[in-house]
C-alpha cells in the first residue's frame, strides 16, 4: 500500500501580510523631504530646558553651524552657505515673513562664540530678533 506522503506547508499568506504591514509602517514614518537639521552638528547638552514637542514653526530658519579644522561651515536646509549668503537669506526671510521670523541656531558645542557672533551680527543687520539656541535634551536631574 502506498504511504500517503505528508507535505509540510508553511503558511506564507500570514507572513506576507505582516511583512507588508511593516513596510507600510516604515514608509509612513520615513521622511522623504530634505531634513533642515544637520545631524552631524554636535549640539551642547541641556538638562533643564523643556524639550520641543511639536518642533520649530514651519517658517523658522534653522542655521546649522559646524566647526571643521578651525573653519566654520554653515548649512541651511541641507546646502552649504557662506556668511554673505546667510545674510541675504535672512533679509529675504524678513521681507517675506516680517521681523518676527524665528531663527534657530544649531551650533557645535565646541564652536568658539566669536563665530556664533558673526551670525548674530547678520541677524541683527537683517532686523530680526527671535533667536533660539538649540541643545540636545538630556532630561532632568
Amino acid at each position: 500500500m502506498r504511504k500517503r506522503e505528508e507535505t509540510l506547508e508553511v503558511p506564507l499568506s500570514s507572513l506576507i501580510d505582516i511583512t507588508f504591514l511593516l513596510i507600510i509602517f516604515f514608509v509612513v514614518t520615513a521622511k522623504m523631504q530634505t531634513d533642515v537639521i544637520d545631524r552631524q552638528v554636535d549640539l551642547a547638552k541641556s538638562y533643564f530646558i523643556p524639550p520641543l514637542t511639536d518642533g520649530p514653526p514651519p517658517e523658522a530658519i534653522t542655521i546649522n553651524v559646524r566647526e571643521i579644522n578651525g573653519d566654520m561651515m554653515i548649512i541651511v536646509a541641507g546646502s552649504r552657505y557662506t556668511l554673505a549668503q546667510v545674510g541675504q537669506l535672512l533679509i529675504m526671510a524678513k521681507n517675506r515673513w516680517g521681523n518676527s521670523v524665528p531663527i534657530v541656531l544649531r551650533c557645535d558645542s565646541q564652536l568658539p562664540y566669536r563665530e556664533v557672533q558673526r551670525i548674530n551680527e547678520l541677524v541683527g543687520k537683517a532686523g530680526l530678533y527671535r533667536v533660539s539656541h538649540a541643545a540636545v535634551d538630556y532630561g532632568r536631574d
Binding site: I23, A44, S46, P51
Partner: protein, 135 residues
C-alpha cells in the same frame, strides 16, 4: 475510462515577491534615523536702536560672564557652573519675572559654555536672557 482532467493550477511565483518585500523592508529599517530630542532656548540679542521707556522702572540686572575653559563669573565674582546655578536659583526664587540676565560671552568661550549657563537660567525660571559678546 474517465480520464481525470488535469486541472492546470496557476502558481504565482511567491519566492521572488517575498525577496523583493524583504529587500524593501531592510532598506526602510536601515534608513530609519533616530529622532534627536532638541530643546530651544530663546535669547535677546543687542538691539542697534534700543528705545527705552523712561516711565518704566529699570529692570533688575544680573550680569554673568562666560569665560573660556568652563570659567564663569557673576557680578565679577568667579564661580563654578554649579555655584552659578545655585545663585541663579536663589535669584529666580526671589524675583524671576523682573530680573533681566545679561550674559557676556568671551570670544574664545564655546557655544557649549553659553548653553550651560542658559540651561541653568532656565532651571531658575529666568526668561529675560540677553546675550552679547565681550569686547
Amino acid at each position: 475510462m474517465a480520464h481525470k482532467k488535469s486541472i492546470d493550477k496557476i502558481e504565482t511565483p511567491l519566492s521572488a515577491l517575498i525577496d523583493v518585500v524583504f529587500l524593501l523592508l531592510m532598506y526602510f529599517i536601515s534608513s530609519q534615523q533616530p529622532e534627536i530630542p532638541e530643546a530651544h532656548v530663546a535669547i535677546n540679542l543687542p538691539s542697534p536702536s534700543a528705545i527705552s521707556n523712561p516711565q518704566q522702572a529699570p529692570p533688575q540686572l544680573l550680569e554673568i560672564h562666560v569665560l573660556p575653559n568652563f570659567q564663569y563669573s557673576i557680578q565679577n565674582t568667579p564661580m563654578s557652573l554649579d555655584a552659578v546655578g545655585t545663585y541663579l536659583q536663589r535669584v529666580g526664587a526671589l524675583n524671576s519675572k523682573d530680573t533681566t540676565v545679561i550674559i557676556k560671552v568671551a570670544p574664545d568661550a564655546t557655544e557649549g559654555n553659553l548653553v550651560s549657563v542658559l540651561d541653568r537660567c532656565n532651571k531658575a525660571n529666568l526668561s529675560q536672557l540677553n546675550v552679547m559678546m565681550m569686547q
